[in-house]
Structures are given as structure tokens and as C-alpha cells.
Subunit: 124 residues, 2 copies
């Protein structure tokens, strides 16, 4: 019978952990995962795609492209950008985006639970 | 109350799926995942690191390095390479490597079950 953990081959003093990433695809293309969840959350927090991009250390162009792609992959627009010059304008999340962020957060918590169980199996 | 699926924002005719990857880290460094599992399985099948590398479309050097790193991350050697010239030699998995491959396969199946449940939540 095969042992169900890896105790016999783990180096003493070393720490073994199960890790992973999780995302949602639309028609085989990645459409939502940790990066976009973080971007939407940063837009909600700063009220601006530009400030959100800076907070995440990415270019405005990259953030804007991520938002445009996201808008095209669901039935609803995710971010509404109000026009305006210096100090004007700003971006807000739509209810659809809030739903997506909430769903992703719930999914992430389920995955954390899964990984916690895997770590128990790996180390107990 | 927030809806628990994304029905209301999914484009009709598009297919949304939960996807992910899973791996084991040793002291914060990736030490075993789908790539190494595939490499060990290919070494077992071909009896040769060189043939396994070719089967996976990677260089011998890369495959050899993966095996060396793997050997250093557990208490046991994973692959034993017998010296020999043309037609001689060959590589075999140790029992520790077989244990690791089996463990990884069981973990992969548990993860598939997790993803199947996520896909039900996403689409039902």
C-alpha cells in the first residue's frame, strides 16, 4: 500500500507546501483571476484606472487594456470611466464588477481551504 | 444577498470554466508539479533521461538539471543513471520517485474534483 504522505522523503528541517493558482476562462481565454481582481479592487479604492495602475506597478495602458478585455468578456461593462480633465473624471465599478470581485473572493477562499487540506495531507 | 454564480453576466453561447495549477514547494521554491511529474513518468517509460527530454520537447540539459534539482530537494535520489556508452546505460526511477509520482497523481485527481465543483458553481 502506497503511503499517503511524503514524510519518508521529506528533508528534516525543510518546509513542504502545496501551492496553486486559480482563474476563470471564457472560451478558453483567461478572463478573470487574481490580477484582474486586484486591479478592480484598486480601481474601486482609488476611483481611477491610472492611480490603480500605479498602485499595482503596471502601466496605464496595460491596466486600460485589461479593463477593455474584461468588458468584452461578459455581458456587462465592468468599469465606467467619466470623462474629465485634470482633477475631473474618474472610474467606478459597475454592480457586475462588484459581483465578479465577490465571486472571485469566495472562490479564492474555497481554494485556500483546499490548499490547507492538501498541506495537512502533505505534512501530517 | 449576492448571487452565488455568474449567470447574470455570462455571455450566452460563451463557455466559462474554472482552471488552475497546483504544485509543491520546498522552502519556498517550486519542487514538484505537473512538469516534473511528466518528466519522471517519461523517464520511467523510456528508461532514459535523453529520450524522456526529447519526448517532452526539452533539451537534455534542462531535463538533467530538473532531475538534479529534484534529487537535492528530498532525502532520496529520484533517478539512478547507469553509466554506459552507445546503447548502454539508462536511467531508472527509485521507489522514492515512484512514491512522489503517485502522490502527485492523487493530488491532481483531488484538484480535478475541486475544479469540477467550481465549474458546477460557475455554470449551474
Amino acid at each position: 500500500m502506497m503511503k499517503q504522505n511524503l514524510d519518508s522523503i521529506q528533508k528534516p528541517g525543510s518546509r513542504y507546501t502545496a501551492k496553486g493558482t486559480l482563474w476563470i476562462e471564457c472560451d478558453g481565454r483567461r478572463c478573470f483571476g487574481p490580477g484582474r481582481a486586484q486591479l478592480l479592487t484598486a480601481i474601486a479604492g482609488t476611483g481611477s484606472i491610472n492611480k490603480a495602475a500605479r498602485q499595482m506597478g503596471m502601466s496605464y495602458k496595460k491596466a486600460w487594456n485589461m479593463v477593455q478585455e474584461l468588458n468584452s468578456q461578459f455581458t456587462e461593462i465592468m468599469v465606467i470611466t467619466q470623462p474629465g480633465g485634470e482633477g475631473g473624471g474618474g472610474s467606478v465599478l459597475t454592480p457586475a464588477a462588484q459581483e465578479l470581485v465577490s465571486y472571485h473572493e469566495a472562490m479564492r477562499l474555497r481554494f485556500q481551504q483546499f490548499l490547507a487540506l492538501e498541506n495537512e495531507l502533505l505534512n501530517d
